[in-house]
């Protein structure tokens, strides 16, 4: 039963239609954000049309065009790219449809933004490493897919901190393409070439962090090397618990999702809404793990 804009709610009010385009439904974190959006949408009787941009900005722009053609009441966009997803924002605004960016930004200013600053996550991660190593040591960095917004920003944050600590040396950095197996192989190779010189690993996401940790574990080096990564997916929380990961930077998917849909509904109804909701990243270590682990 496909809804149309003319469908009515039980109470007779017009049923809202909201379109959501997500960066990638193959990414656990994004799926978590989306689940929250869907849950809330269902609860509020909103018709949600969801599409997966599969990490392609072009596809995302096209999807938003399609939303506009379908005359949705509001759009939630989880942008693939800072610049390349911007035309979508411009097009939605030109069609007078409110568009809410969730999780990451575009250079074009949307109606509202809900999310966190990826640069900040890079900073927190590298700061943690710097503190642990007392400002002195060798770090390797595993990038996400090169050229993608999250990779660029997380690297940027990490490098800012590295600059502040001249004692920290970036030994090597390569891409692990967000992939656990690739990061694992990469780390294995690094262990061959740098061995015990490596003091810390910073991975742009948890998947890769866990891959690096596995390689270090297999080489019997885990207790000598610090591994930090970003997202706070359940596996990573378990990793922190077991000590395979030293820290993960928790990004609150639930809050991002629920705030995004709340804002979108308000905007669709023409009510007042927050133009910007920043949900801070949180450092998760063994010490504060308990509050993040779901029962």
């Amino acid at each position: 039963n496909q809804s149309t804009t003319s469908e009515k709610n039980d109470d007779g009010s017009k049923k809202l239609v909201i379109g959501a385009t997500m960066l990638s439904m193959q990414n656990e974190f994004i799926v978590n954000v989306y689940d929250e959006i869907e849950k809330k949408a269902g609860a509020d009787g909103v018709d949600l049309i969801t599409v997966d941009a599969e990490r392609s900005a072009l596809k995302q722009v096209e999807q938003v065009e399609s939303f506009i053609a379908q005359k949705v009441d509001a759009i939630i966009m989880n942008p693939c790219e800072v610049e390349a997803s911007s035309p979508a924002v411009a097009k939605a605004l030109a069609a007078n449809i409110p568009i809410i960016n969730v999780n990451s930004e575009t250079s074009a200013k949307p109606s509202a933004f809900v999310g966190s600053d990826d640069v900040e996550s890079g900073r927190i991660a590298m700061k943690f490493i710097a503190d642990k190593l007392k400002g002195k040591g060798n770090v390797v960095m595993i990038h996400g897919y090169m050229g993608q917004a999250a990779q660029i920003k997380r690297e940027q944050g990490a490098r800012e901190v590295l600059k502040q600590y001249p004692g920290l040396k970036l030994l090597a950095h390569q891409t692990g393409e967000w992939d656990r197996a690739k990061a694992m192989s990469l780390t294995e190779n690094w262990i061959q070439s740098y061995g015990s010189q490596i003091n810390a690993v910073f991975a742009h996401n948890d998947e890769m962090g866990l891959g690096a940790a596995k390689a270090l574990l297999d080489a019997g080096m885990k207790d000598k090397v610090i591994v930090v990564s970003i997202d706070g997916i359940p596996d990573a929380l378990q990793g922190v618990k077991k000590g395979t990961l030293d820290a993960t930077i928790f990004q609150n998917a639930e809050q991002q999702g629920s705030k995004a849909i709340e804002t979108a509904i308000k905007a669709a109804k023409g009510e007042a809404y927050e133009k910007q909701t920043l949900i801070p990243f949180q450092l998760v270590t063994k010490d504060n793990l308990a509050s993040f682990l779901k029962p």
């Binding site: 599409v51 997966d52 999807q63 379908q70 800072v82 610049e83 390349a84 660029i152």
Partner: protein, 324 residues
């Protein structure tokens, strides 16, 4: 003497042969019909325009790939070429720098060079095109990242952004360019000497050589054409998303090859038409659009998409074998 032993007018045979083409058309029309009935938003001028716009970039790439596959080759590097040429063009498309022809020419030149390089290696060495273009696919991706330092190239001039994002008399430029490219490629393939040579080279390379056809030159031309069309796609994509993305175009090669093969181009070379390829690209586009409109969950979308494509081509080929 009764020489007309083939009494039954055989022109029916050729007519039937061509009718084979229609199997796909029937599948295509069928899918459109089903979509029109299930969702009122499908059959609107606006949505149909959106579909064609969305299809256009894949179709341009698929045209290039059709030439190449007809000669018995393959090109996996087109996706990377989209990125390289897009980034190259974008670097010269900032506002108040160069007139808009400069980035366009630079993009096209980059594609020309890249395609010619593919052609050169393939004709000079005996390395299969699959490997050569897999290599240049990797090289191209690296070059796009190096050129852009791994960052999107943005802040492009309005006139550049108009090329792939504008409208002329209400019709998106992409559709206009698609139509022109389709006509151009069809004519090249069907009406010119070089087009005929492509079929000959793919149909039987040895015999083509013995018939005095310059095999090497034909191959150079098709790979260069592939590069040029990829560059065109790259420029249009960049203009449409107003950024040169170093990681753009990933997986485009498979979509383009799929469009060509769905459209009846044989992977073993020697057969294929631009109309078929266009139809193949439209089929993929319509299914993808329809699944979005029907709000099929993304995971199930993939399953349905795969199944429909296989189904459509099975239908098409059943049609063909029945007729023969």
């Amino acid at each position: 003497m009764n020489t007309s032993f083939t009494q039954v007018t055989q022109s029916t045979k050729t007519r039937f042969g061509r009718l084979g083409q229609y199997g796909l058309l029937i599948a295509f029309v069928g899918i459109c019909l089903i979509l029109s009935l299930t969702t009122p938003r499908f059959f609107t001028v606006q949505n149909l325009m959106i579909i064609v716009t969305q299809v256009s970039i894949n179709a341009l790439l698929a045209f290039g790939v059709t030439f190449i596959i007809i000669t018995g080759g393959i090109d996996l590097s087109i996706g990377s070429m989209v990125a390289v040429t897009g980034v190259a063009a974008a670097s010269f498309a900032h506002p108040d720098t160069y007139p808009v022809v400069v980035p366009v020419l630079i993009g096209l030149l980059a594609g020309l060079f890249f395609g010619a390089f593919n052609g050169f290696v393939i004709t000079r060495s005996h390395v299969p095109p699959f490997i050569v273009t897999l290599g240049t696919m990797t090289i191209g991706r690296g070059l796009a990242l190096i050129l852009s330092k791994g960052r999107p190239v943005s802040n492009l001039s309005d006139s550049f952004n108009f090329i792939g994002g504008g409208k002329i008399l209400g019709v998106p430029t992409l559709i206009l360019i698609l139509v022109v490219a389709f006509i151009g490629c069809s004519i090249l393939l069907k009406k010119t000497v070089i087009g005929r040579y492509m079929y000959a080279v793919g149909g039987n390379e040895q015999a083509a050589r013995a018939s005095g056809i310059p095999i090497g030159r034909v191959k150079m031309i098709v790979y260069t054409l592939g590069g040029l069309l990829a560059a065109l796609a790259g420029i249009l994509l960049t203009s449409r998303i107003t950024t040169g993305q170093p990681n753009a175009g990933q997986g485009f090669e498979l979509d383009a090859i799929a469009a060509a093969i769905i459209g009846g181009t044989s992977t073993s070379g020697g057969t294929g038409t631009m109309t078929g390829t266009l139809l193949g690209a439209l089929l993929i586009g319509v299914i993808s659009n329809g699944l979005d409109l029907l709000n099929v969950t993304s995971y199930y979308q993939e399953v349905v998409m795969g199944a429909i494509i296989i189904g459509a081509v099975v239908l098409d080929s059943m049609n063909r074998t029945n007729k023969n």
